[in-house]
């Protein structure tokens, strides 16, 4: 499986609307994330326009909605960063792989990695959190592989199809993401993801920016 997929994040354009409406109309979207299955396409469209309109080009608002795109596969999915706090340097992340043929493939993992790297390396966050339903095994396994820690198990917390399910809350701290990058430095060198600033090859510049003070955690 090639690792060179040239995945990138970008703001949504008007032309993306039909694709996003189709994703949000999938039964999986309401099951794994949120939304009322009874919504009409018109309501979904209005919601999307409102959501994407909040992602401005300049100042970052309290929530950011971006598309995950790639040269190799085209549109992959939708990324939403919510509860963005500049004071706490944290957010919660929702990731939806709308292109069903790409689920459970390495490209989905790379997309999730891209999204998390954006949080730490572009938004300079300290913590990325995620709430994932227990039945969404593929998602929480992926987060664990990326170094996230299961911090909460909220028992019988969400109702789906007349049954109550657990919800897991995950947290990934900046130092843990750094550890993940160092551990998988070899993988990055084989991919088109440039993580030399976090996982340098022998002879590269030091991984840590000498002017950036070390991050303290309560660990």
């Amino acid at each position: 499986m090639p690792l060179k997929t040239k995945i990138f994040l970008r703001r949504a354009e008007r032309d993306d609307l039909d694709t996003i409406v189709a994703w949000m109309d999938q039964p999986d979207f309401a099951r794994f994330l949120y939304g009322d299955p009874a919504r009409s396409p018109k309501q979904i469209r209005e919601q999307i326009v409102a959501m994407l309109g909040r992602t401005t080009a300049h100042a970052l608002p309290g929530a950011v909605y971006l598309l995950i795109d790639s040269e190799a596969y085209g549109l992959i999915g939708l990324l939403s960063l919510q509860h963005l706090s500049w004071r706490n340097r944290s957010c919660t992340i929702d990731l939806y792989i709308g292109n069903l043929s790409l689920r459970n493939r390495i490209v989905a993992s790379l997309a999730a990695f891209r999204a998390i790297a954006y949080c730490f390396d572009e938004l300079n966050l300290h913590r990325v959190g995620a709430y994932i339903y227990a039945f969404n095994t593929a998602s929480w396994r992926l987060f664990e592989k990326l170094g996230a820690v299961r911090e909460l198990t909220l028992r019988d917390h969400v109702a789906r199809d007349g049954k109550l399910y657990d919800v897991y809350a995950y947290g990934l701290l900046r130092p843990e993401f750094q550890t993940f990058c160092e551990k998988h430095a070899d993988l990055f060198r084989r991919s088109d993801i440039d993580m030399r600033h976090r996982a340098p090859a022998p002879g590269d510049a030091p991984a840590h920016n000498p002017i950036e003070p070390p991050t303290e955690t309560s660990q």
């Binding site: 963005l84 706490n88 303290e216």
Partner: protein
């Protein structure tokens, strides 16, 4: 107004704004008063008055706890209670940490759990406390709440990261009143 054994519990009104304002002291952050981003809110007196005039407050979801002498000792609430989600956030804040051991704390617990499990028939109640809220955590643990885990580095306040613990109490764990256990 509910006349409990050791206190009065009544719907909060705009005149309680001054008492409520003291609970937002930044040097003593409380999980109950963090917003959805887990940031500390520092509302003004006018904003609190407005908040307590709002429809939700009038509908009786935010309560003032007064002792028998009529002094406001704290506030309590079942936040976000909705039949579809079948759970709500259990909020109790007292001005003084020692009040969590006071007899009226039991009255407040009885009142909220009765509303949650008997009247609203919720499946569970959830509570959250910061690592600095040891008295509130002990209050919850002593009454059967079980930890769901701890979220790390959730809030940055007072020059350090704070942890946030979630605890829950299920209706199935809640002994019925006529069982003679409470």
């Amino acid at each position: 107004m509910i006349t409990a054994q050791h206190c009065f519990i009544r719907t909060a009104d705009p005149d309680d704004a001054l008492a409520l304002e003291r609970f937002y002291a930044p040097e003593k952050p409380r999980a109950a008063f963090l917003d959805r981003k887990r940031e500390l809110l520092v509302p003004t007196f006018d904003e609190l008055r407005e908040l307590l005039s709002a429809k939700e407050a009038k509908a009786g979801v935010f309560y003032t706890v007064e002792d028998r002498a009529g002094t406001i000792r704290g506030f309590c609430s079942l936040r976000g209670a909705h039949p579809e989600v079948s759970h709500a956030e259990f909020v109790v804040v007292f001005a003084d940490d020692a009040d969590y051991d006071a007899p009226f704390a039991d009255d407040v617990f009885e009142f909220l759990t009765d509303r949650a499990f008997v009247q609203l028939k919720l499946n569970k109640v959830l509570a959250q406390c910061l690592d600095s809220e040891a008295a509130f955590r002990a209050f919850l643990a002593a009454r059967g709440f079980q930890s769901d885990g701890v979220q790390r580095d959730v809030l940055f306040a007072g020059g350090r990261w704070r942890r946030l613990e979630s605890l829950s109490l299920f209706r199935s764990q809640f002994p019925p009143r006529n069982a003679g256990t409470r």
